[in-house]
């Protein structure tokens, strides 16, 4: 976690809809893992005081030269409007890398990445890392229409199998990502699913994944005031089934926040609000209570981890709480 200022190296667009900023932030670039995000100050002295969080879309390491990070966004309001006006050599004030990223499989695995709209952003960085580690990467990229698809050309380049779907059929197949999900899982012999996008999509993907006993890692986007774990605004409701001795195994983002509190040790099931900025934004989809108050998709499979796919990094060990920074 660093508070730093980075110089804008480039501003470009992907299609007509998405903006991209490449920022020189060497230390952040070196530390960041797929699924983590940065929190950006969007103008000083304005009525919009809070930072805006953005997933790291890609990290570019240029031999010997400072590494850069790239974010992509669409214009939603004042913050993204401000960012869209940044040009090379302007400075950006940012905090990062933040949050816990995706857990990567240890053994070789077939990984299916499912992204909706701008939510696909962190999956590009993830695909880069998975491919570097020798995993197979397949992608389903979806959006409402052609212009909302994030960089489909790059997806075709990255993925062994790339399925592009739009709700209006303007590009690729017509439909939603979930319409082609089961078929893709079978065809690609998927062993783990990574997904990011709107919550209804994450919920639907999780349902299909856990029915097939596949681990599903979801990256959520909650409203965040601080981004580093102090305000408790960004929470996701998780249901965690307690089993004796369960606290030890890894790859279960779900249970960290509960177990940190020894006082509830005998409870059978617990609903807990976990901070998505520090315990997330990547969670085990099976533990999430998607609609706020009801049951999780598959409480029993809260246990389901990337089976046999032990976590290599970015994993779900105990929260930041247990790892105070060195030195102070």
């Amino acid at each position: 976690m660093l508070l730093t200022r980075g110089e804008v190296l480039g501003h470009k667009k992907y299609g007509e809809h998405y903006h991209s900023l490449t920022i020189v932030a060497p230390e952040v670039g070196e530390q960041v893992q797929p699924g983590q995000f940065i929190n950006v100050l969007c103008g000083e002295g304005s009525a919009h005081i809070l930072r805006r969080p953005f997933s790291v879309y890609r990290v570019h390491k240029r031999g010997g030269w400072a590494s850069t990070i790239e974010i992509v966004f669409d214009i939603r309001g004042a913050g993204t409007e401000y960012l869209a006006h940044l040009r090379p050599h302007m400075m950006v004030d940012l905090v990062g890398p933040l949050g816990r990223g995706f857990a990567l499989p240890k053994g070789r695995a077939h990984c299916l990445l499912v992204g909706g709209g701008i939510g696909a952003a962190p999956l590009f960085f993830l695909a880069d890392d998975l491919r570097n580690d020798g995993h197979r990467v397949d992608v389903i990229l979806g959006a409402r229409s052609n212009r909302m698809l994030l960089n489909p050309i790059e997806v075709r380049r990255l993925a062994s199998v790339a399925r592009v779907v739009t709700e209006d059929g303007s590009t690729g197949e017509q439909g939603r990502v979930t319409d082609v999900l089961e078929e893709t899982i079978e065809r690609c012999e998927t062993e783990i699913i990574y997904t990011c996008g709107p919550h209804p999509m994450l919920e639907a993907v999780t349902k299909i994944g856990v029915n097939r006993k596949l681990p599903v890692q979801v990256a959520v986007e909650e409203l965040m005031a601080c981004g580093y774990g102090v305000c408790m605004t960004c929470v996701m409701p998780l249901k965690v089934k307690k089993k004796a001795g369960a606290g030890k195994s890894r790859a279960r983002g779900a249970r960290t926040s509960v177990n940190a509190d020894g006082s509830q040790a005998d409870a059978e099931d617990e609903v807990t609000y976990a901070r998505s900025c520090t315990e997330g934004p990547v969670f085990n989809g099976a533990s999430v209570i998607w609609n706020g108050h009801e049951e999780p998709v598959a409480p029993d499979q809260a246990e389901l981890s990337p089976t046999g796919l032990a976590v290599a990094h970015g994993g779900f060990e105990d929260s930041a709480d247990e790892h105070p920074p060195p030195g102070n």
């Binding site: 508070l3 305000c231 929470v235 996701m236 006082s263 706020g292 102070n328």
Partner: protein
Amino acid sequence: MADLSIKLAGVELRTPVLVASGTFGAGREGSYFVPVNQLGGIIVKSTTLTPWKGKPTPRMCETPSGMLNAIGIQNKGIDHFISTDLPWLLKKDATVFASIAGNTVDEYIKVADKLRTGGRGITGVEINISCPNLEDHSNMFSHSPESTTAVVAGVRKALPKAALFPKLSPNVTSLTEIAGAAIEAGADGLSLINTLFGMAIDVEHRRPKLAGVTGGLSGPAIRPVAVRAVWEVHNAFPHIPVIGQGGISTAEDALEFILAGASAVAVGTSNFVNPRSSLEVTKGIGEYMDRNHVASVAELVGSVKTEG
């Protein structure tokens, strides 16, 4: 460099700049950015007798120059604070202010009892009385002199020696009346102010922007209200030390509070925007003192000239 140390209700603080409850957790996350022993004090997130789960989301929304929050005091409970957070803070040489909350007078007293036995090393205790009183139609304790008295007197009895700072809500007709009740009941100082009630509506969906419907407004938007509150209470009770808070993000902001009568200040929402703002505020106060040849913070407290 000016001497920034102060005495607050009899306790020595390194600087007059603290961090506000609920905006710095229990110090660990913030310590990535701020060495916690350089702060005047850490007022930890309000702590309750049992763990509180908090409210559903969305819990916050940004508003002009501020934000609304409805967290519902999500916290892991006093036992966790005593067993885990407090030892860590003390090991890091932090100056610790506990903050206690509850839904009944009895809950406040029980938390205070636990602090009496387990809270060694704590410098002061903020009493967050901006909580719904379940025994009184969920009116906040801070909204009536009677329930303010009941909580403060109860905690006073449980913690006879601790420096107690009831934290008052600005959402009342007469703040000085409530302040008077708190002092009468045994407060050593006062913390002013907690958030202002607010509400925001998503007009497209015709829904409140917060799941909790209403929430607490914080940030620069509330600063003038907070400065006025400090000034008013300081004038009414000049000998009662005040921890001023509400929208502080720069040294100039903090100095407004001090000149209005605050002996110390707390930085809140600004921690979210600039995790290091508490240190920048501290440095700026020192520079102001040097520039104006002020030897101690105490000289500045309440020194605003309202006449002549």
